[in-house]
Every structure is written in structure tokens, then in C-alpha cells.
Assembly symmetry: none
Homo-oligomer: 269 residues x 2
DNA sequence: ACCATAGGTTCATATAATGAACCAGAAACA
DNA sequence: TGTTTCTGGTTCATTATATGAACCTATGGT
């Protein structure tokens, strides 16, 4: 591991629950020598990536990251990133792919992509609002949401959009357990008749589910083979999108595709 | 300069107008050997600070900065605090207010607020870099900076952004004296034509000028009455923001609004 | 007074960074 | 079409840089 990689890896020891890290702590966490950490942190501090503060001269993340983040957001807006991922996802599955973000307590569609292969397809509208209990995207988010949000949703009136919408809170809780095991949510005609969809959550930098991407197909076309392909693809692309947006899946999120990060001359996903 | 510092300095060649940088360009810009840049960029890429994209395999800022920025923001909600102050400042003056922070030897904009009152207004961009000698914010910071920084800035080439930019070091030094007397800096079309701005420094816990807030108005609208209102407001809000961020103005900072509250609860430092 | 911990510093050693030269491929140009 | 001149990427002997055990000083706890 190069010196620079070591220095940058130190930044990963700052978390939401541990915003301040002292020199000795950092040495312990990283397994590096204290003197090494001291010098690396010094260089990071000079560049504004960390700063020292407080009585114990502890370190925290510095202002430079804010500036870079502003530039990154300008260079790579979230919608464009998502659009690229959805393009690949709909190409891979030959079905409609869409991306939705939590806004308050509702999930609203940001962008989507159609596959030109089939004459029939599930169609979407911008800013569609998805019900949390009745869509695969909603369930994917719920499965990784704080218990109080889940409770609030399941206690509230659960509207049945179709005669196949699942409205039994106990049943939904069992589904959430299943989703946490697989990493993929599923909904069969729960929101619109004759639509079968699979979704996987998108996580933010604090590993909170901030949204989901989903693949929606006509039930008539769904079979075991297609479902299997979709499940793999939607999960892989969700992880990719999470990474591209600077998010981090929670440690317990199931990964069946260990994305071995090769050097920087890399395989296009 | 350490290897890590070199690697991190490469990130500064990404700007709003140059979001993509190729390997050779980066080597030219930084003055480093191409092979060196190649390896450093490789390490940065592995850590997610940059990523390669496009036909020319050019680099751009990576998702990692978004993640770190979210953590920084969580640890130091400076942006939120500043946003509130700027809101009040722009309401009080009915003009554009902005907040910039020193990063190394440059001043970069963190956040800003517009007033909805007038149809015309000065507009800002996130991560705008302000020249120290040619903006009111820069002058406000310089006036309270260490002599060696002032010397370094005034010795260096002083770019004239407009035909009204003041580039005479002696003249600037006289202005700095004036700023120290008033506590407020002023710039008339020094950075952008037809923009008249007033600024006051923000101090950190060690009473060093870490940034500034400013009010920028179209020159057409500026008159004695507006200028007087702005000077009072920007200074008061700068003191308030300094306090909210845990900073402390130096003892010689002029205060014309003595907020000596004769209560029995002592002012929080 | 004592021990354990902290941040910070030193210097001989070893490891990692460096850069000139070199590929191979893609445009630009004639 | 061949030639030039870019590009990103690679090699390897040389050199400079990073490293870590030990040390220093201060502080908080017992």
C-alpha cells in the first residue's frame, strides 16, 4: 500500500458516531505507527482534509472536503449519475428501470429508463409518488429504515391500490425480514395491476436508505429466469449507484457479488 | 513536500470550469513527472477521490468526497449555521449575502443567500474562489491575517480582474489599515464589474481570521444610506456568526454596537 | 508519588517514490 | 498513405522519502 493510500484510508475512520479521533486512537484503529499517523495527519491537515480542534487536539474532517464535494456535485449531478445506472439496468433486464428518493415520508420518482426491446412496457411519470408499503422500492427503503418510521407507516392506514396489495402489518414485517436477508424487495401487482417489480435500496453516506432503484416488468413476462436476472442486476446496480453517490451500504447488507476493486484501469461494469 | 501532500494537491486542479483533467494535463499543471502523476492518481482513484471516465480516460472528482462532506457537515454544521446568519443578513440589507472560508491561501465560498426583494441581484456559485486582494471578503481576512501571509500575497502577482481592481501593494496596505479601524472591508468592482461589496471577517477560536461574510449589491443601487445599513449589518452578523461557530474576535476588533447585556447570565464565550 | 495515557519528536534504517526512456494507440496532417 | 505528435500507460535503476522503536513532556487518575 502506497503512502498516499494509507493517508487517505485514515479518513475512513471518521464516522457519524465518531466525528473526532485523537492521534493514538487513529494509530490503534489503523494499525499504523503513531509517528506515521502523526505525519500523515499533518499532511492531511495542511491540505485542509482534517483539522485539529478541542482540548485533546483531536482531529476531525476539514473544510477541504466541502469544497471538493461542491465541485463534484457540479461535475456529476445526481440525476445524471442515476440516469446512467438506470440505462445499464434497463439494458441488462430489457425492462423499465426507475430511481426514487425519499422526501419526507414519501418516495418520489426522480428518473427512469425504458428498454426498447419489448413492445409492451411499464411506463413511468416524473415525480410519481410511490406508496411505501405497496411498492418494491418502498419496501426496500422500509427494510433499512429506522424502526419508528416503519412503525409509523405500518400503523397508519394502508391503502389497497389493487386487490393484491398487501395491507397486513404482520405480513409486511415478515417481508421486510426477507428483504434484509436478500437485499432485494419484490412486489407483485401491489401498486398497479399486472406489474411485477424488484427493487434494491440506495444508501447515503450515513448508511441510511435514501431511496431505491427498481425494475418493473409486466407480470405476463415475468418468469423464474427473468426474476433471477433482475434480482442480480438490480442489486449490483444499486450498490454501484450507492457508491457513485458517495454512499455506503450498511455492514449487514448482503453482497453476493464481491466487487473486487481492481486497480484504476478497470473493468467497465 | 511529502508524497501525500503532492497527491492531495492534484485535487486542486479540478475546478468548476475544468471538471475533467487528463493525465498529461495534470502532469503539466502540477509540474510533476507523468509517471508520478499516474501513480498518485491511481491511489486517489482507489480511494474514490477521483474516477476515470470518458474516451480519453480523463479523471474527475470521485464519490468519496461526497461521503466525507456529509460526515463533515454532520460533525460541523457550519453551513447550516452560516446559512441562517446569511438569511438574516440578506433580509436586513435586501441584497446578496455570502460566506467564504480560507483554505490554504485561497478564499472559497461556502454558502450564500439571495434577497427576493429586487429583480436584479448579484449571483454566486458554490465553491467560487475569491482573490484576496480584489474582493471585500479577501481584504477583510487579510486585514486580520499574519504579516507573512499579507506579505506573500502582496508580493505575488496581483491579477487585475477588472479595470478597477487595485493592484498597488502600498495602496492595499493603506486599505488594510482602514479596515482594521472600521472592522469592515469594501470593494467597488474589484472582482466583478458593477458589484459593490462590504465584508467583515469571521474569527476562529484562536482569534485568527478564518473567513468572511459579505454583502454584494449592484453598484447602481449603492448609495450612502444603503452602504451605512450594510456596514452595520454585516459587522453585527459577522460577530454573531463568529460567536456561533465558537470563535472569538481579537481584543482590538472595533465594536460600535456594544451588546453589553447587563444580565446575570454571563455571555457564552 | 506513582502509573498510564496523551500528543509530539528523533534518527538510523528500509521501503517506497521518482523520472528518463520507452511502448502502443489515436488523431492530425500532408 | 505514411509521418508527426499527441495521448495514456509501463519499466527499472537511482534516490529520496517514509518508517518505527525509543524517547520526551504534560496531564489526569489513584
Amino acid at each position: 500500500m502506497g503512502t498516499t493510500a494509507k493517508a487517505l484510508s485514515l479518513l475512513n475512520y471518521f464516522t457519524r458516531s465518531r466525528p473526532l479521533v485523537g492521534l493514538s486512537d487513529m494509530a490503534r484503529l489503523s494499525g499504523l505507527n503513531k509517528a506515521t499517523v502523526y505525519r500523515l495527519m499533518g499532511e492531511l491537515a495542511e491540505a485542509g482534509f482534517v483539522e485539529q480542534v478541542g482540548t485533546g487536539r483531536e482531529y476531525r474532517l476539514g473544510p477541504a472536503v466541502m469544497r471538493l464535494a461542491a465541485l463534484r456535485e457540479h461535475a456529476v449531478p445526481m440525476r445524471d449519475v442515476a440516469a446512467e445506472v438506470l440505462r445499464d439496468l434497463s439494458d441488462a433486464t430489457q425492462e423499465t428501470a426507475h430511481f426514487s428518493l425519499m422526501q419526507g415520508r414519501t418516495l418520489s420518482t426522480v428518473t427512469y429508463a425504458y428498454s426498447p426491446v419489448h413492445g409492451t412496457r411499464v411506463t413511468m411519470e416524473d415525480a410519481d409518488v410511490l406508496m411505501l408499503h405497496a411498492t418494491s422500492s418502498g419496501l426496500a427503503v422500509l427494510a433499512y429504515s429506522a424502526p419508528d418510521l416503519v412503525g409509523a407507516v405500518l400503523e397508519g392506514p394502508l391503502e389497497a391500490r389493487t386487490d393484491q396489495t398487501i395491507t397486513d402489518p404482520a405480513h409486511i414485517r415478515r417481508m421486510l425480514d426477507e428483504i434484509r436477508r436478500d437485499g432485494v424487495a419484490e412486489s407483485v401487482s401491489g401498486f398497479e395491476n399486472d406489474v411485477h417489480s424488484h427493487a434494491a435500496p440506495i444508501f447515503d453516506a450515513e448508511s441510511r436508505a435514501m431511496g431505491a432503484i427498481a425494475v418493473a416488468a409486466p407480470t405476463a413476462r415475468m418468469d423464474a429466469a427473468l426474476a433471477a436476472r433482475i434480482r442480480v442486476a438490480v442489486k449490483a446496480q444499486a450498490l454501484r449507484l450507492t457508491r457513485m453517490l458517495g454512499g455506503l451500504p450498511p455492514p449487514d447488507y448482503p453482497r453476493n457479488t464481491p466487487d473486487t476493486v481492481a486497480g484504476h484501469a478497470p473493468a467497465p461494469a
